[in-house]
Amino acid sequence: MRKLLVYLKPYRGRIALATLLMAVSAVCDLLLPTLMADVLDKGVYGAAEADTFGYILKTAGWMLGISLVSLASVAAGFWVVYHVVAGYTWRLRSALFRKVHTMTLTEVGRIGTSNLVTRTTHDVGTLNWIISAICGEVLIIPLMFLGAVILCMRKDVCLSLIILVIVPVLIAAGMRLGKKIEHLWELADEQCDKQNDLVRERLRGIRVIRAFDRERSAHEKITDATRVMAENFIRANVTMEIIDPAAAFVLNTAALLIVFLGGVRMERGSGLTAGDIFAIIQYINIILGAIVAVSYDIVMLPRIKVAVRRLGQITESTGLEDERPAEGLTFSGAIDLEHAGFTYPDSSLPALSDVDMHIKPGEWVSVIGGTGSGKTTLAELLLAFRAPTEGVLRFDGQDAAKLAPKDIRANVSCSLQKSMLYAGTIAENLRMGRPDATDEELWAALELAQVADFVREQPDGLGFRLEPAGTNVSGGQKQRLAIARAVLKDAPIYIFDDSFSALDFLTEAKVRKALNEKLAGRTRIVITQRVVSAMHSDRIFVLADGALVGAGTHAELLESCSIYREIYLSQTGGGAA
């Protein structure tokens, strides 16, 4: 929580100002009944008989003035509050966004991208809400209470004791109840999530459900969950709704007590006037209004707790990247993995283990294996997203751990497995790897990736705007645009991780041919599941369950590596020569 409040620091002065403005307005609201009491007491019965109506008018003028001041100060107060909240939210979001990009890939994967998105949107929104509620509503309550007590004290110390005792007791009771309600709301929300999951599951499985004629049972499950959800909400509401009538009853009773004790004290001649008693009753009404307003915010408590806890996962994350600046090294393209391995922090089995791989500059190698085989982990090691947990990775003989990740990434161009485009024009996306590329160079790269025709067909050509994550182009087009971008970046090492999977064999063959011509002399690492993508490369590495089970040319591996043979036979039926 403290980490989240740090961003409020620059606004301390403005928060104080807002509170002051709100307080002025609260005091004004409290002064109205006081003036009213004056009118009733002095104006009507008091000494100023000579010009009683004049006195009433004068006081009315004051009341009008005070009302206007109240409105002006509350409006100014809100204006300040919302500027503070906007600034705070902006700072918090910006910091979260920055923090995510300093976290390691492992950490990003641990929290999960969709979770990261909800944290920066939904959870920040919750915090935004609570801060404006605190600055706008909650902070004034103690002030109002204090003001009311002081005004009461001036009228009558004894009567003010009633307010002094009852209000804190009421607040304490409300907080106790709030605890209970908080728990009930947590349960209710949980049930609501369960219901959501059930509906989602059903919609996703619609084909299987219908294929097996199980719609009825899917419907019944949802019906049951809906009923349970309703019961939970009722339980939470039933408890919550006590606050409003109970607080009203207690404060109304307090008002009666004040009338009675006020009467007693008037009789004893304490100098208390009937107008004073009337004013005190009105203070109570004002306080009641404020308490009831805040009591409704209790519903949000469990959600605030959740939001704070979830935001803490980001702000308190310690899995950070090595942010050393690049030294501007240029590699030759030699890569050596010496007994390298990697184990994910929450896993007992290594994703990669004891991988010995020596790649010469300019070599074209393929890494083949199924998804569990560790080939993507290998790509992540090569891009310095993860550091080997055993063994060593070397570029040009230098231990990668000693190099700045930024240097490594400057020397490696890549096209990665999934969603890799950004909102913006095609040209902007392509120029990511080489900002100074000319349009001709862009077209050449598009041509190579077999996607130039598609871009040409667009009215805006290179200026065609992609939606976020490139959702307005097909999977195959995305892959080809990413290949074009990778090729455009000038680097000694190129990695293509599962970059051809959405292309049909025909297109893939053309891309492969063009890549080999264009990137001759550069180190190329093609990571794939498909034999046809790998079989023509200089050397093939076969990964299975995180281990290197074979290395060599296609022909050698067919002889020596049973797993490669199995993959080959299963994918081609042995039909390829």
Partner: protein
């Protein structure tokens, strides 16, 4: 869930604001909302009665409190002993009324909350769920799940607010206003006039300001969407961002958009939060007017101070329901928008379903005659598809990724209806069969495995709920599942779900094969694609699939050359259309797209 909604309603109105267009409250959607409440009549009447009781209390208390205060002022003028004692009866009565008020208020809340949650929200959700059973698959295909869920959850709870709104805001609000206005006039018309005249002003002002704020809300809402999309993109593209060193650029973009979003939020927030203070000012004006007029009346017309005090207390109560009505009338537009979305689902045309049954045991001959089909009437996909598949034959569907190979599956399973032509199974036209009967002929294994939250045994027995444990185990054994199921913490009783990590994606695929084996249907639809599977599991899956295929008429979305070469018939799909049809040999001889596809695998 209504009080939650009551709170969120404030939030949501802030987000969307009351609707732009001035439409009548009771248009078609409004009327239907009321009609939907019919089954709740009794409860609503009871809560309306409670509301009346509360209005009675609200009217009685200022009157009584006023008379007590009158006694105090009278005493100040003319001190007599026994003041405190003379106050007691009034205090007693008021205490009683307050207690009744508290109890009835709670009762009303309780009643409204439970009828709304239990009968209205739950009822509506169950109806929606029931409706889903009868909607065509095409609806789910084109509607994102999130959209359906939003309607089923959020929109229904917004609708429930209409029950609350009609009883609490319209009914009790209007009644209370009328009664109090009447009493004000009866008490003293001269003081009543400023109150009754000024209060509508507050309503007018508040609705004007809400309207002004709305534009800012719309803008902020739109920018929020963009901001979310940007964050989503940035976080999913994390590796690429890092690899191309784009962090700073993204950060700048994000910060700039976030700033714009917050700036537009400030005005919206500001306008909605000063509605209340502005109303308070108008109330204060009424208050001041009463003081002046009252003071004058006391001085010159000898009116009692208690009467003025009563009017003052009533003035407070008069503005309350007015504010509620002003808010409610704006909010009802929001509710109606939600109701409209829910009604849209309820009114969707349902899938026609004939009642024909399968009488004789099915052998598995499938004839497709001149079938035409398209998802989009403008773009014909399948034209004049004909084939005759004998029992036990294998049809392979091949083509590049994303070419639309699942269309055939959609037609055979009648997830979609074709336009013209016929499909006959063992000579019987399937369009005469009920969809469920039709589907009972097929077992289906899709690439997109679907497991629901339940035990392993329940998942495997999904197509045959009566299967015994022995039968389940046998099917799992056949599908190479038994060994890993036994290693799960609770074996066959382990609860798994779509995103459970206890079983790998390959094992999930094996489970769906076991499910199909257990269901034991004469026809089979199979997607051979195995993704996210390690090599060993892939081999197991293939062996299991081969077992499943033997002896059945199969339609296979083929990824293995062996399957394709062995197939009795190959359908070649490209860009959603079936471009070639024949056996491996005949297609190669044709030297068409299939030939090209086949050859290209081995080109350098």
């Amino acid at each position: 869930m209504s009080s939650l909604e009551k709170n969120e309603q404030v939030e949501t109105t802030e987000k969307s604001g009351p609707a732009k267009k001035k439409t009548r409250v009771f248009d078609e959607t409004g009327k239907r909302l009321v009609r939907e409440m019919k089954p709740l009549r009794g409860w609503i009447l009871l809560s309306a009665f409670f509301c009346l009781l509360l209005i009675g209390c609200a009217v009685a208390t200022p009157e009584l409190l006023g008379s007590l205060i009158d006694k105090l002022f009278a005493w100040a003028k003319d001190p007599q002993p026994g003041l405190a004692g003379s106050l007691l009866p009034g205090i007693g009565i008021l205490l009683g009324i307050y207690a009744v008020q508290g109890g009835v208020t709670y009762g009303k809340y309780y009643l409204l909350q439970s009828i709304i949650s239990r009968f209205y929200c739950a009822g509506m959700r169950i109806r929606l769920s029931d409706k889903l059973r009868r909607l065509p698959v095409s609806y789910m295909d084109k509607t994102p799940a999130g959209d359906v869920i939003d309607r089923m959850m959020d929109d229904v709870s917004d609708m429930a607010d209409s029950v609350y709104g009609i009883v609490d805001i319209l009914l009790s609000g209007f009644l209370q206003m009328i009664v109090i206005a009447a009493i004000l006039f009866l008490t003293d018309w001269r003081m009543a006039i400023p109150v009754v005249l000024l209060s509508p002003l507050s309503v007018l002002l508040s609705s004007k300001m809400a309207g002004l704020g709305e534009n800012h809300w719309d803008k902020q809402y739109e920018l929020s969407g963009k901001l979310t999309a940007l964050a989503e993109e940035a976080f999913t593209n994390y590796p690429t961002t890092k690899a191309f060193n784009r962090e700073e650029e993204l950060q700048r973009k994000y910060d700039a958009l976030s700033e714009r979003q917050q700036q537009s939020g400030i005005r919206g927030h500001f306008l909605s939060s000063i509605v209340q203070p502005v109303i308070a000012l108008v109330n204060a004006l009424a208050y001041i007017a009463v003081t002046v007029v009252g003071g004058w009346l006391i001085l010159h017309r000898g009116m009692s101070v208690g009467t003025v005090a009563t009017v003052i207390l009533f003035t407070r109560q008069f503005s309350g329901p007015l504010e509620r009505i002003a808010f409610g009338l704006g909010y009802i537009q929001h509710v109606k928008a939600a109701a409209k979305r829910v009604f849209t689902i309820l009114d969707l045309p349902e899938e026609p379903d004939p009642s024909g049954r399968v009488e004789a045991p099915t052998r598995g001959r499938v004839e497709i005659r001149h079938v035409d089909f398209s998802y989009d009437p403008g773009k014909p996909l399948i034209r004049d598809l004909c084939m005759d598949v004998q029992p036990g034959q294998k049809v392979a569907i091949v083509g590049p990724t994303g070419a639309g190979k699942t269309t055939i599956v959609n037609l055979l399973m009648r997830f979609y209806d074709f336009r013209t032509g016929q499909i006959l199974i063992d000579g019987r036209d399937v369009s005469e069969l009920s969809r469920a009967e039709n589907r009972k002929l097929f077992a289906m294994v899709l690439q997109d495995t679907w497991l629901f939250k339940g035990t392993v045994a329940e998942n495997v027995a999904y197509g045959s709920p009566e299967a015994t444990r022995e039968e389940i185990v046998r099917a799992c054994d056949c599908a190479y599942c038994d060994h890993f199921i036994r290693r799960l913490p609770e074996g066959y009783d382990t609860v798994i779900s779509e995103d459970s990590t206890a079983v790998s994606s390959g094992q999930k695929q094996l489970l769906t094969i076991a499910r199909a084996l257990l269901a034991d249907r004469p026809l089979l639809i199979l997607d051979e694609a195995t993704s996210n599977v390690d090599t060993r599991t892939e081999l197991l899956i293939q062996k299991a699939m081969d077992r499943l295929m033997s002896g059945r008429t199969c339609f296979v979305i083929a990824h293995r050359l062996s399957t394709i070469v062995d197939a009795d018939m190959i359908l070649v799909v490209r860009d959603g259309q079936i471009v070639e049809q024949g056996t491996h040999r005949s297609l190669l001889a044709q030297k068409g797209f299939y030939y090209e596809l086949f050859q290209s695998q081995y080109a350098i």
